[in-house]
Subunit: 337 residues, 6 copies
């Protein structure tokens, strides 16, 4: 049975049955002293308030906060918005939970994106870097994680597949720029782009929800990325290929310096042309993604500015071609007058 | 009659009679148009919601916000937590208020701590500094204030006795470090430690509640500490002992420079070995105290990280040996299913 | 019929009829399932909660959020404070809206202020600057906008007439200081003062409410002021008078540098004596205005400190001559005891 | 007669006759008490020390410091390096001075660059922006200045033709990126790129030497660029074409925000996607130009790092493929042993 | 015999006899192996190079570096500038040294300035502050030090009498501003102005040379000023007058907060209207003094900009009315051509 | 033959023969046109000027700048200080160069220090950390490098053996502090101390001179330390012992966070009690070492302050017990008078 996502639970009277994440829960008492549960149910499409009358303390305790529950009920209405009236509820069994229903997923086609990235990597000419990329592509666990991971918890590309999308996007931009800035070392730049955020596969967890792992908070994806480099350098050398230590330092530097300043957590400032280029391309790609996402998501389509945006430190200008409707009452509505 | 502290008001039906601070108060009306008071009652052990039905506007106005009230009633329950049902209430008389019931008190034994500090001071050898310390110990008002004052309003050692505890703790640490860094002038360092925060006896008020005095806000404990130094230097010299002006400058400098940077309010940066040492020991003692306090107080014992901590600018890692219980439903609880 | 401003709607039972801005509106349902509207009504004197029972969804939708409505009803009471009971309501017609009722107005007499400013300008001696000022005074639209504009959205002189008041105030202060610092070029300084914030006539809108225009957000009043300078330089030169480019640069510099630092948005740092003087006088005038306004407006007249003040980054000291009443219950109020 | 540039004055005995800039001059006396002049002579290819024996105080005074002198003499040698032995010298007449000999010139072909830029501009589709560009191209004085101006005094593209080269380079990069980031408004971005540094034609002087004009120091190229925009907006509108004020604000914003932060002198932070893109492309183009220039110019070809580089705040890594010669004495040179 | 100051030692052959400070000294050997001393001699009017042939190592050692020497000789010339040919020299006796000859002295008349300051103080009305000022004026040692001290080592008013001049200048400016900003407490402001830099009498030494004392470096004039306040508060109270502690805190605050920010060494930020005003007046007076001094002292009268100025972080614009002479050779000077 | 170090080359006429580093070299010509070499010779004890008359261009070119030369000559004198008169010189052969003569060596006994560190490590109780330390101690190459490396190029412990000395010193201090702060995990702290700077064995080179390696500049000792951790974690696990990943993260964090702030290059801020403690102990140990070194090395023993000290951002106060000799001529030395 296809799942009814929250965004579609809009018709009063509509039946509801399925597994939801319990984003909030509260045990309250009616005037008559009976317990009821007020909650918010969530899946990847959104969140909806819910109420269960005639609840018990034991049931309330059993429902895990931020965990999953199997819910049965109907769509009701409260303050002009949908509210789920829960008739029955219990903790969900693991076999009933489909994580894809609860995590945001990016818009792209991962198969096509991976194929295009592979194609780009096949154009790398330096033997040492070709050997390095070969080790990446044959590491199935890493490739799978890279394909699935988000690029961030919140800031940009914050959904499954976001790391791949972001990495591929910068790679495409770099290929174009290298046509113009011909002094750049295209091969080194492409390897730096692949690896710059690969530590996010370890910095973030993205099975039940998006968030930082303990290792991510204590070590961080820049240094985790360098540790993952060492694993691959060792593999390349174990395979009999040469990977000069000087080249290894340059690649390590690309990963460590890509945030551009100490303030943003880079232990080293960019000192090579490719490191500067990676830093600017990464920054521009993240900002353009967030800009167009936040402009598209802005609550009020009739205004030219978004609200205050924390990432950008101000409101964003959506453009002057937005049609701003003037609020003029074109007919007189009488409310008793 | 021993007082029932808030932390022990947990049994529904339990009788309540005593003086509480009124942390919040709100006059509301029932559906039927009758006034009732919603409030929070507080003492040093915690805070509990309370409600008084059948209240009047006059009574509401008479109860001082953040002041003390004599309350009579019973323990009830609301949303699964205790709530006091107030039956009668009036402003407390001064004679009924015991301030110790409302201010936090440190865990240590002040008598033992003062004795230990005295013992440490007795080991000071430089005659001028011995004479100085003698003036401190014979100033009964100052000694009493020093023994009672908190070390801060909120950041660390924020309870009665905190200044003594913090000062003694740094003194012990300094004695140990001086065994290793033998070039440090142990006597000067110990006097600097005693005096570094002594201005807090004037910067803070700590009789009814903890907070900053007008003088504290306008002048601050660093400069207040120097003014208090002048009083003692004068006393030493009046007593016939010598206190060289050069030594006086060094002690003033220790007090003024102990915050380490202009940004944190020191008008002078540390320029002597003892000033650096005092700054680091003070900083470390305050942070370790706050770290272990905040980790211990963290609401959720099953998580490895505290919430965002403003003093540290991030979450604190409580350690990997915390047993994190996985939220897995081990038996099926049916809520109607 | 003279309008009853919000600040005078305090007597239960008092009739209410007039146009108000609808600051908030919310459609809710009673226990019995009937819709009612909860709202806040506002004019330049303040804001009051309101409720309309027996509302419809259509009426709710017709009332513009932040727009104007004609309201009929009575003053009621809720939680001890006035609440308007709306009996009838509809969107206001343009002809019914008097914007002066909704925008804050400064305390001064604009006619007298303009006359005084003109008198000051008449004392300017340099021919080029006299010609420049003449172009200002004969530009009726600009003079009208300058007379009506606020000096800021919130920080200081944030009301109609504020720009004039602030500009005149600095001019007076500058005249006085020039008596003492005789090396200052009084004429250049006075022209710089007139023009330093004139871009606010374009940066802000102040017809229906105070706020930033799109041009204000994208360009800003410093650069808008320079663009307005160009218009006047062209007019002076078109009139046959000479306005040396060197003098023009000095005036442009005064406008661009008056915020004093890059951090506050000046693209150039002050490099002339007049630029330093303008920066300090502007800053001091704004701060003193805000200081005395915020001290006067502080909610609690019995305290010596205001609450945390964002503009100043701390609490303000209202002075020690404030009579702080000690909260001592001088008679015993019995609440059942 | 083709000029002998300084870089070619290397053969002892070689005749020298020509106009040089006098970078330094010093009047000294020999042991025997006779005056001589020690000086440095300069043209766009470099600088060489010079000495004139048997000089007089009058001649010394007549030679303008940093001005031009006609010099006659021979190449000599001092400390193993060339030194000009001046036999005769006088201030140069204006007709003898060819400024191109003294200013650095960029490597590109301005005709080809202008043609390519024109071609790019011809691809702009928005009518208002086409009309704007038409006004630029028909303003011969501006086009000539734009073609001749440097992009900076020192930091990057600091030679005649640098502004054109830098502007064209960013335009090419933008065209490429717009293939990938298709949501960007290509036309607006191209106009912003053309105008972002156009104020440098007024901020810098570049006839006798490179440096800042008074207007440049007092106003700056960002605001000068906006003032130049106004001139062209007026021309477009005077020509009968429409240039919406909303679009004008967006273009002004691109110019004002292109430095990216207040710290670097932008009075407004970027708030549109095109503004972010322009900021990053400008920054990257300037840095890559400076990076490759400084690496190429580094004094010691056998080292992998440049010296400390002020623009980048550190040394630059020239790459590991530099052959670093180890300093090993391969044969024994005897100096008396 | 009136002293010949360095600035007047310009005529070759002129006799020299007097005491000079020895700013530099160097023992060298001639080609023939004989010792000679190269030195710089200094008094308050300037500095001149000197040479003594036929010196001995013993004499060289006896002349104190930065101390005073009695010198006898003649004016010679070297590289077109005066040079003293020392014929005899020995360390000066204390009785021969007139310190006023070596310290810079301000341009004002201290008697008149003190009288004017007294007149201003006589206008103070609050009894407590009148009593305070009385204690200042009757402390002869302090009054004498205040009259003699400089206001800074280098930044502004860096000469004997500078503290008085600066204090009086701000007082005059404050009197004027109080006519306009009538809400300011004129009496408190005047006392704050008197005391804001009074700690400089202890922070600086100014008998043999200008510089910081040990106490000045370790404690600083802000806190030294507060310590000096305590001495006077005690004296006022000892005299039987009342000086409320609340008022004392406000005066202490004025002294401590007058640098305006932590960054510039104020342990407290301004929190009263008078504290803001003092901070701005102090800053403006210091900057205007330094601005006009540095513009007047600029080496090149024909340029519109000073060199880089460290206090202001840039070059200062001297004004467009400077006549900049174009360096054009108006007649042809032949140097052999 | 024992080497005569520079510090002992003080007697005119003394014979010199040995290998020196050539710190500076300059080819000059005498009046008569003959070449001579002016140079500075250096070993670990200091630096001395030298001159070689009758040199040739070929010899000059053969002597490597900053390399080693075998020098034969005598001690002369110039300007009252020793100068080497070189009679013969040639590049040194590798076999003649003893690097220990040219690199600074610490004052301690490395054998005793290593033994003490081993003893401390033997007290570690956690099995995983014992296994980790065992891997360290059996890695002979690493142990040798750790024993020999400096702790910095210049800032503190900048000599052979400095890393060991600094690491041991913090370890001792930590042992003492753990007696007082008993909640600290002593074992984790000790391992963090051992490893915090171990990356310096790769960040610095210290065979011919002290300096940064390419890897050090591109990667840095924090991340190099983490990479070295991975090598040892792998070795521990390969040996069959358990090293929990959670513990590994905590150790990585100690290494990465020990600089305390992003500004100083830590990619992570301290989040554990041990990380705070390590940061403060490291900082204090480095500062105290530098403080006492710079005070001891200060050129002028008779002054109470060092010169401006870059590491501390100011002058250091050497203490008031320094006997400052007043420069008073106690007998009259006549220089011809």
């Amino acid at each position: 049975m296809p799942r009814d996502f929250v965004e579609r639970l809009t018709t009063p009277g509509q039946m509801v049955e399925g597994v939801f994440q319990v984003a909030e829960k509260d045990l309250r008492t009616t005037k008559k002293g009976q317990f009821f549960i007020s909650a918010k149910l969530r899946d990847r499409s959104g969140e909806v308030p819910a109420v269960m009358w005639d609840a018990t303390q034991a049931l309330f305790a059993a429902i895990p906060q931020d965990g999953y529950a199997l819910v049965k009920g109907r769509v009701g209405e409260y303050n002009g918005a949908p509210q789920i009236l829960i008739e029955a509820m219990r903790p969900a069994k693991n076999s009933e939970i489909h994580l894809e229903d609860f995590l945001p997923v990016g818009p792209g086609d991962p198969d096509a994106q991976m194929a295009r990235l592979k194609e780009i990597h096949d154009s790398v000419a330096r033997p040492a870097l070709r050997a390095f990329l070969a080790e990446f592509w044959k590491d199935e666990a890493l490739v799978a994680a890279f394909r699935r991971a988000p690029a961030a918890e919140k800031l940009h590309h914050a959904y499954l597949g976001g790391l791949l999308e972001h990495t591929l996007s910068i790679s495409e931009a770099a290929l174009l720029l290298c046509q113009h800035y011909t002094q750049l070392d295209r091969d080194i730049l492409l390897v730096g782009i692949l690896w710059h955020d690969i530590g996010k596969t370890r910095e973030l967890h993205y099975t039940e929800s998006l968030g930082y792992t303990d290792a991510g908070k204590l070590v961080g994806h820049l240094v985790q990325g360098v540790v993952m480099l060492e694993e691959k350098f060792a593999a390349v050398r174990a395979s009999g290929a040469d990977f000069p230590e000087e080249l290894a330092n340059v690649v390590r530097h690309l990963v460590l310096a890509h945030h551009g300043t100490h303030e943003f957590g880079s232990p080293k400032l960019p000192m090579t042309a490719e490191a500067f280029t990676l830093h600017h391309l990464d920054n521009l790609d993240a900002k353009l993604h967030a800009f167009f996402r936040d402009v598209a998501a802005d609550a009020d389509p009739a205004r030219r500015w978004t609200g205050f945006n924390r990432m950008f430190g101000g409101a964003l200008y959506k453009g002057f071609e937005i049609t701003v409707e003037e609020d003029k009452p074109d007919e007189e509505l009488k409310g008793g007058l």
